[in-house]
Amino acid sequence: MNNEHRPYTLIAELTYRCPLRCPYCSNPLDLAERGNEIDTDTWLRVFHEAEALGIVQLNLTGGEPLLRDDLELLIEGAGKLDLYTNLITSGIPLTSERLSRLRALGLDSVQVSIQSARSSVSDRIAGAPSFHRKLDAMQWVTSLGIPLTMNVVLHRENISEIEEFIALAERVSADRLELANTQYLGWALKNRLALLPTLEQIEQARIVAAEAKMRLRGKMEVLFITPDYYSEYPKSCMEGWGRRFIVVNPEGLALPCHLAHTIPGLRFERVTQRRLADIWHHSEGFNRFRGDEWLPDPCRTCERRAVDFGGCRCQAFHVMGDAGMTDPACSLAPGHGHIESARAQAGRLAGTLIFFDYRTSRGCFSR
């Protein structure tokens, strides 16, 4: 295998269940119908196969990975394979004792997301009382000496709190602060009107984040991730389709990104039916957008094609209806007008309160 297509990271979506109902959740919209989570032994085998394939990073995510009661076994298994294991969590439900156990079994780092730096706003956005428990969780993480990333998904209702987020991250001694603007897919696309900030909001936040990044150099890493709706060029989504990442979803479907299976007409396979290496190398879905043969105009002749690989396939599909088109976030894309009109709408609606369509809570706890 050449290094052009070597996976480094496995994103293990352990469950779609979650105690929160954030309106920008990146899980698929039809998650309520999905009930069959793969079991402990299957996950452990997947970790093994992933490591053999070159994977060195493991992100345990969901939904809420803490809802898996075999999380201890999974982290222990990953630890034996010397994978860098990162737990991506809402911090709920967690106890200091459980966290300490997970650390001892090989957990390398923890990412806790907060919805707002203000408890009432955070609880409203999360759709459940959770802010104070998140603060507790972050404090347990740092007091156990585990590196902490505080993650905030930014949107028009919380982006003005950017200074408060930075202050909070300093107060809880985070190693990393990830200020990530919402990606408008999944639930976030459904709620785009309520979430997309204005250009002015983005610019102000960018300046504050850049200042903090300088000031905190050597103490805390500050990342500000621009929304691609306000970028001139698209992001290199997943660093290229089937190039660096494998996502395995709660049902065992192996994917190039967490929403790839929402694109119709692509065939993906399950880790319960085929070895991960075979899926990676040979499956139709993984090969569909690899390389540059498939590239549409204007990407085909664009100098940036080796930088962004044409952008996000899911965004091309969900905004333009065709996953084979240039990501409309690109200013050179034929579909860029859709993004411009969403931006213009955000400008017109500045200051207007729009209600969220919360992620369904079904699928959260079986009933």
């Binding site: 060195v56 860098y84 990162n86 390398d108």
Partner: protein
């Protein structure tokens, strides 16, 4: 610019791991990684909080005795700068 009297230490979140696919070392941290060449690996191993930048240069000058000390100093400072920019070093002031 890095002071030559500081004693850099890899941040808590960083782990050095051998990559048997390439025979090189990887510096892993949350959601990212850097592939290191031999010199960078040697430098990273000295980021324990005990060595000053000057100590590192002295030590590496003895190990790589066919490379000019100035060249080694440039490599050490350059690589430490890369690490510091990514928030991978502590003890930097």
């Amino acid at each position: 610019m890095i002071l030559t009297t500081v004693r850099p230490r890899l941040s808590l979140k960083v782990r050095l791991r051998f990559d048997r696919r390439t025979g090189r070392h990887l510096l892993l941290y949350p959601e990212r990684g850097l592939e290191l060449n031999d010199t960078a690996t040697a430098i990273a191993r000295l980021c324990t909080g005990e060595w000053t930048v000057d100590d590192m240069v002295d030590h590496l000058t003895r190990v790589y005795d066919d490379v000019a000390p100035d060249e080694i100093r440039r490599e050490v400072c350059g690589f430490l700068d890369v690490l510091a920019d990514r928030g991978l070093l502590q003890n930097m002031s």
